[in-house]
């Protein structure tokens, strides 16, 4: 066995804080010590082996089996290595992570990538609200890194994000990119009402025109955006999975906004689906 595998014995009744289970925390610990690590479970503290069967050997990667949406803060503060989650996962996935990668082979909750400043999160299923957003009281949401959601995402994707890239292959909810400071969001399918509402800067790339665009966004016309050419080429170079972006053309309808803030953000609605 080349990786550490944590298999959930049964679905927990309360939320289980998984922030202690990261490669940097587990490095140098014996299997026996790992089993006796403490986890916050509801209002109580429990040992790892009371909820998980643990086996394998430390090598910078962790696998969580039989996961469910009660597991929160998975990969919190991740600074190296990989975490693979088989099953669903709860809120605050990858909170404050700085490096490394997390892959969820299932659905994820809300506040994914909250305050992340590096690394990559892949969700193969759907995700909840406030992806890459800041919690109430936070100045900013995600600060760097990549969040890639294969399914749909909820409302307010990238709320107050400052930097980084969020890719949503499915549909996104209302207020996508609300109050963005900067960064880039790509929605490959439908988005809900008022994308970019209150955004200061940043780019929201949409595959199709949303049903409602706020009156505080003004059309700059249909343009060949040199930036899109560069962006799609660079995305394709990042990962084989993103090679499909290389087929997209640079023509887009540009809306500048939100003029109620300072209007330096943009909605780019793709017009040419091929080069």
């Amino acid at each position: 066995m080349s990786t550490l595998v944590f298999s959930l014995k049964s679905k927990p009744t309360f939320t289980l804080d998984m922030s202690s289970i990261t490669p940097s925390v587990l490095e140098g610990l014996t299997l026996a010590k790992i089993k006796k690590l403490k986890l916050v479970y509801g209002k109580e503290t429990v040992t790892v082996d009371s909820l998980f069967n643990v086996k394998g050997k430390y090598n910078d990667s962790i696998v969580i089996e039989n996961s469910c949406n009660k597991l929160i803060c998975v990969g919190k503060g991740l600074s190296k290595g990989t975490i693979t989650v088989n099953g669903d996962v709860g809120d605050l996935l990858g909170q404050s992570m700085t490096k490394g990668s997390i892959q969820v082979n299932g659905n994820a909750g809300s506040w994914i990538g909250n305050k992340m400043s590096g690394g990559r999160i892949d969700i193969l299923g759907n995700a909840g609200d406030f992806i890459g957003a800041g919690l109430p009281g936070d100045a900013f949401g995600m600060n760097k890194g990549l969040i890639n959601i294969h399914g749909n995402a909820g409302d307010r994707v990238g709320d107050r994000m400052r930097r980084g890239i969020i890719i949503i292959s499915g549909s996104a909810g209302d207020f996508c990119g609300s109050r963005m400071h900067a960064g880039t969001i790509i929605a490959r399918s439908k988005v809900g009402k008022y994308p970019g509402s209150g955004m200061r800067r940043g780019t929201i790339i949409l595959d199709r025109k949303p049903a409602h665009i706020a009156a505080t966004f003004k059309s700059c016309g249909i343009l060949k955006m040199q930036f899109l050419r560069l962006f799609f080429t660079q995305l394709a170079a990042m990962d084989k999975e993103f090679e499909t972006f290389n087929k997209l053309g640079p023509t887009a309808h540009r809306y500048s906004g939100d003029l109620a803030r300072n209007g330096k953000g943009e909605l780019l609605i793709l017009k040419s689906k091929t080069k």
């Binding site: 880039t184 040199q226 080429t233 660079q234």
Partner: protein
């Protein structure tokens, strides 16, 4: 030592340390990329008066450039990173940014960086946008043709400047034919440039002058018209001396460039007016990189 009847002098070329960067210029098509690249490398023959030495390195296919368009890689050499810091933004701003449809990227990874878009962004007058993609920061500057995209910085590396050889010929016309062939071969070597017009120097210089305000002056020992007046290095049959100066990213690339260049020049032979190959040196006082002609041609 002789190659194809051409005498190879037992001497060496003397080169000196420089700093270099490589930038990638892309455009709608190669024609416009060349226009930008040619403008950028204009008046960049010698650090003596131009500040930098620059030339086109090679064409780039769309799959070799950051934005998937055809491009040109240009190498710029200077005596220090500070000189590059001064020259690169000015040159890119006045030549590449002003050329329609172009974009400009770094072509060299290094810990030492000099500003490119970092300085030029202010042209956007507050409408510029920064984007961090794939670990690199790019500036989007709104301009009248659309958008000028420029990477924030470009890498700087240690380099070698002033690799050279002299082609001693019967006439300038014959010397130039041999030099053109030599430059064509040198251009096939990666990581080197020949910054002078057409890659050939018609007025090679020595260090210093009788005039105190001049740092370089004509190399009278190789001037055919002064053969009877000064201590000349030229024999009676030689009527023209042309120099090829090579800057490169390392000694090995200059070695290779000199090797292929000299062999190409020698292929014309004495029958076509090429008599000798020599090299410019200053007794080993100018720089630490010495390229012995006979050794590199072995």
């Amino acid at each position: 030592m002789k190659i194809n009847g051409v005498q190879i002098d037992d001497t060496f070329a003397e080169a000196f340390p420089m700093k270099a960067t490589r930038i990638i210029i892309t455009a709608m098509n190669l024609k416009w990329a060349y226009r930008a690249a040619n403008a950028l490398r204009g008046f960049a023959t010698s650090v003596i008066a131009c500040g930098v030495e620059a030339d086109i390195e090679r064409e780039l296919k769309p799959d070799e450039t950051p934005d998937g368009r055809p491009g040109i890689s240009v190498m710029i050499f200077a005596m220090s990173a500070k000189d590059l810091e001064k020259q690169v933004p000015i040159r890119v701003g006045q030549t590449v940014m002003t050329t329609v449809t172009t974009a400009c990227y770094s072509g060299l990874e290094s810990d030492t960086q000099v500003a490119m878009g970092k300085s030029l962004r202010y042209f956007g007058d507050g409408y510029q946008i920064s984007k961090l993609v794939n670990g690199k920061r790019f500036w989007r500057i709104p301009v009248m043709h659309g958008e000028f995209i420029c990477e924030e910085t470009t890498g700087v590396t240690k380099a070698v400047g002033g690799g050279n050889f002299l082609v001693l010929a019967k006439t300038a016309r014959q010397g130039l034919l041999a030099c053109e062939k030599a430059v064509n071969e040198i251009q096939k070597v990666d990581g080197v440039i020949t910054a002078f017009p057409g890659g050939v120097v018609g007025s090679g210089s020595k260090v210093g002058s009788k005039y105190p305000f001049l740092s370089a002056s004509t190399n009278e020992a190789y001037c055919p018209t002064l053969k009877g007046v000064v201590k000349s290095e030229l024999t009676d049959e030689i009527g023209s001396v042309l120099e090829i100066v090579i800057d490169g990213l390392d000694e090995e690339s200059i070695n290779e460039a000199m090797r292929v260049g000299i062999r190409a020049a020698c292929s014309y032979g004495p029958g076509k007016g090429i008599y000798r190959i020599s090299a410019g040196n200053y007794g080993g006082n100018l720089g630490p990189h010495l390229f012995y002609l006979r050794e590199l041609l072995k």
